[in-house]
Symmetry: C2
Subunit: 632 residues, 2 copies
């Protein structure tokens, strides 16, 4: 038995744990991430990626992985019918109207492999084949002691692959599965260490339990899951569909009197079908390997698809599960142990939210722990994790219940109710639903400026023009997840000298801030804890006329050209014919900012608006910072 010490221990390397490790790695926080399994996900499990999660990946410069892989679509189609199904409704699929990013479907293994590769690039590593087995809590400097066992390969659970080829005579031939393909990290098999078979006690300042739906840590803490299982049994299968159904490459909901099928078009020509199974025979966990369930699933799907054909030869994964909607009574213990992901909320996968909300939990948490560890943030900030994420989980579980009602209705619900639940899912997936309540890091009382901006919600995207390059950028894409807080100054119309003076007056105050708040500039040697972005109404001004706090100059690296923007492109000289030169709305209008007045927005390291105020309200800004920032 050895003892070791770490600032943060993450238990579980699924989407939640990996996102926590990614962010902590980005921030250079000393931490470890362990998982009892020998590999990441190899096939199956979650598939849907919502736009809010793509935005988060973008903030780690990883969204291109999603954009270049996986399957993208743009339509959701509703089919219903008694004896024979027919197409009822086509809608734009998830997210387009609320984000500059797009949704898609991605194999969970690809997501995990990408996160692992992002962690590695930032100097971290995932330790596999290590199982947490017991816990004790003390008042020590590293108060939580987790005892883990380094497993022998033979002790580790195997990944249930389930891939097979179905021969003409119906016999199944096991296969390796083909959907898993990620260049650098094909399988991420556990490295053999000479620790196998030994025990280790890891003493941690903070522990994140991201250990999944049957969370060991949740049980240790004695937290309870509230909610219910239903009797509804579903099968899920990833196949190369052999069919004449015309919408097989679109997201579809099929409600028939024989039951319900959901279609999710996937990478490499695969299609995922969620099939509602007949009620009679509630599947048990063990039945997920039972091929009679597989036959039943296909037979049910074939009935529902009538008059269209449906069969397959190549299957990559399948399982059977029962529906449950449950949520933990607590998300954290004593602001030193936190639970995230499936460990605190379980629900059906059919809304395509599981992999997303799990990562979003971790994204909400990691920077808070880092800020407290660095002595920048007050420890009270940590209690906002539970107060912010539990209501979201509740909303998800409720929504999931509404979805299940619709999907198990055997086409007896009105179409408008179906559409309504899908609209809610879309909204949820966009992240615009998340409105965190008042706390040290979310203001309650604010100035009547930026009237379309809600404190506690993520900054809505707007397109702005970089003054230096003329390039059009998504405002949201500027908010990188590197632990920085941002002050976004909507400067208004600074071609007016009065407004310019006001903006530069604010600049004078801002340049004194790092004296008042010593931790403002302690993040990295070279980088301020708070970064300032400025956007004016037009681009007809010179960056050099601004207070240097907005356009800082380094004697070696020169100017940072990514801080000053306009709502509209530079009208510049004659001869211009740029495609976006007439924008329907500028950022000021979109955010509800008066061009003669301006506004400032204080934005957290998770792109959430913490506070807003008028350009003159420097005392309001100072007070807000005092709410959560340590000054000693």
């Amino acid at each position: 038995m050895t003892d070791s010490y770490t600032d943060v221990l993450i238990i579980g390397a699924g989407p939640a744990g990996l996102m926590a490790s990614l962010y902590l790695s980005e921030l250079g926080v000393n931490h470890r991430i362990i998982d009892k399994l020998g590999t990441r996900a190899l096939n199956g499990r979650a598939d849907g990626f919502q736009v809010r999660t793509v935005e988060i990946w973008d903030s780690f410069n990883m969204a291109h992985l999603l954009e270049n892989h996986g399957n993208h679509f743009r339509e959701w189609v509703l089919w219903t019918g008694e004896k024979e199904i027919s197409r009822q409704r086509v809608e734009t699929s998830i997210g387009e109207e609320v984000s500059h990013k797009n949704t898609g479907t991605f194999h969970q293994g690809f997501i995990e492999a990408s996160l692992i590769s992002g962690i590695r690039k930032r100097g971290g590593t995932v330790e596999r084949g290590i199982k947490a087995t017991s816990m004790s809590i003390s008042e020590a400097d590293h108060p939580t002691a987790i005892t883990v066992k380094h497993l022998h390969a033979t002790e580790m659970d195997q990944w249930h692959v389930g891939a097979h080829f179905k021969h003409d005579d119906g016999t199944l031939e096991s296969q390796k599965g083909t959907i898993d393909a990620f260049g650098d990290d094909p399988q991420d098999i556990v490295p053999s260490t000479n620790q196998q078979g030994t025990q280790e006690t890891i003493h941690a300042k903070y522990v994140i339990g991201a250990d999944g739906g049957r969370s060991w840590l949740r049980n240790e803490l004695g937290f309870r899951m509230n909610g219910a299982n239903t009797n509804s049994v579903w099968g899920v299968i990833d196949i190369i569909a052999l069919t004449d159904f015309p919408d097989i490459r679109k997201i579809c909901t099929i409600l028939s009197s024989h039951g319900t099928v959901l279609i999710v078009p996937r990478e490499h020509g695969f299609t995922r079908l969620y099939v509602q199974l007949p009620d009679e025979d509630p599947a048990t966990e063990s039945s997920s390997n039972n091929t009679t369930m597989l036959e039943k699933m296909l037979a049910t799907a074939q009935q529902i698809f009538a008059p269209y054909s449906m069969d397959y030869k190549i299957c990559d994964w399948w399982t059977v599960y029962k529906v449950g909607h449950r949520i933990a009574d607590h998300f954290s213990y004593d602001n030193r142990i936190f639970l995230a992901g499936d460990a605190v909320h379980t629900h059906t996968p059919k809304g395509g939210q599981g992999m997303n909300v799990s990562q979003q939990d971790a994204y909400n948490l990691a920077w808070k722990i880092a800020g407290v560890l660095r002595g920048q943030l007050k420890p009270e900030v940590l209690s906002t994790y539970e107060s912010e994420r539990q209501p979201i989980a509740k909303e998800l579980v409720d929504l999931d219940g509404a979805l299940s009602d619709v999907l198990t209705s055997r086409s007896q619900v009105p179409e408008s109710q179906v559409k309504d639940v899908y609209d809610r899912l879309r909204y949820f997936g966009s992240g615009t639903n998340a409105k965190y309540g008042p706390s040290p890091i979310v203001a309650e009382h604010v100035d009547k400026v930026a009237t379309n901006i809600i404190c506690g919600a993520r900054l809505p995207n707007a397109y702005i023009y970089n003054l230096a390059s003329g390039r059009r950028l998504a405002s949201q894409s500027l908010l990188k997840s590197d632990g920085s807080w941002y002050l976004f100054v909507l400067a208004g119309d600074i071609t007016s000298s009065q407004q310019l003076a006001r903006v530069n007056g604010l600049g004078t105050y801002l340049s004194t801030l790092s004296h008042k708040f010593p931790h403002l500039s302690s993040r990295k040697m070279t980088q301020a804890f708070m970064r300032i972005l400025l956007c004016a109404v037009s681009s007809d001004f010179k960056a050099h006329d601004l207070n240097s706090v907005y356009f800082p100059m380094d004697t070696v690296r020169g100017h940072d050209y990514n801080t000053v923007f306009g709502d509209q492109p530079d009208k510049g000289a004659y001869g211009r014919k740029l495609e976006h030169s007439i924008e329907a709305e500028g950022t000021h209008k979109l955010y509800g900012v008066d061009q003669q007045v301006g506004a400032m927005l204080l934005i957290r390291p998770d792109q959430t608006v913490a506070w807003k105020g008028s350009l003159d309200n420097v005392s309001g800004l100072g007070e807000r910072l005092l709410n959560f920032m340590r000054v000693d």
Copy 2:
């Protein structure tokens, strides 16, 4: 001395040689690529990537590397002035209106590293430290014998880095350089083999000389470069600019009475300056390491930039060169030895075309050699390499002369002449200029259909809607570089039963084609040599109503859902609100195709239109295929 045999030997692993190897690797052609240097480019050299080259990379599924790295911009700005410069004109930068892809600047080493990684993924490899030293030609089955020397590390030329830090007192401290950063292949150092110091004779069926501006192979063949050097001397330098010049992150041409500067914004905050040096002192090749030239370059730039400041601390690369515009009298020898890239055309780098045209040469050539080697194409096809690429090179060299005239004019030319030459450059970079003349693979006499389509030019892009998924796609993105010829059937309005019958009649003929042309289906076991794409005017039809040649079904893999399209999205059911649902123009209109008539386009493996005809003209299609395809 050992003897070895290969189908194709490529000499030189710059952009031209690597593109040839990439395409041959994709096609599984037995070949070798050698280079006398021990590394790829590490910094400096070419920087501009034109949209046509991005399209080509897209056809190898590699364009995302360009989109996610490098620097992108959207404006070209002209500054002129006698004593002090001022901004005169802003224009959209290169390409936007002619391509679905965008231009950018990329360090040549990144381009080479990406191509090398693409070659590796396709099973190929680059052999370094191998220098071609002598050649003989016989009538053998492998007629060209190239003797090479495997160099010791000490015998290899070193990469001239030139990176430095300029201290306040003006002293220069050598540095490693920071622009070079490509994950998987940081430097691609030559592997040490036990062959070092030995000689080898490589016997090849075909040889591609991509050995650069001082081409050894060109000299061996006795080809001459025609054209002239001028006395104009230029410096080029990659720096982190310390300046208050407002357009430093835009592409700029600055014409002043002190000379000319071109600004190219680069990756990682670097800026490249091309500086016209005073005439007096024609630099020699050796002066490129001479720091007095460096001082002269900076001093000249500072004069030209006045009243703005210009200085630097960090330099990544610099050199000095004389302008020359020259072109080889021959591009190939006996249809078995071919020269590509700088080996056959040299010109100034300031138009940003060198790295592009070099790759485009190789892209024109590789599939022809592969097709002949496989016995699919008649050997005569090989002579089209010279007949197609030499006129392009001539055009480039002429254009380069016109550019030099403008740039050395010391602001004495009218602005309209400056704009004109930049418009020509933009047009050249888009690839729309390339109109190959009549040959077995470019038709001269064609039906009066698809009136906007030019045989011998690359297929213009249009946006179309995938019938199965509803996704909007660039038509050009369907034309993958895998050696396939494409038959693009513009089906017209097939909601009319008469038009549908006509299209299906053509389908019946097409399904017999692989009997008439046995090599049509010999490319790979599973893939046809010619692929058929169909695009109708609307999406209001069922793929299953088409002749199965358009929507083929595989009993295991199911349908290929990437063959059937519409000009417009499916109007489908009610409730639709898709962003592109009202397209200004459909593909039929854009290509000049009558909706009641339709048309077919035969497209080469390099996206060039070979032939066009009406849907009834099956004999014309058959004759055209007989022109270049072997039937024995």
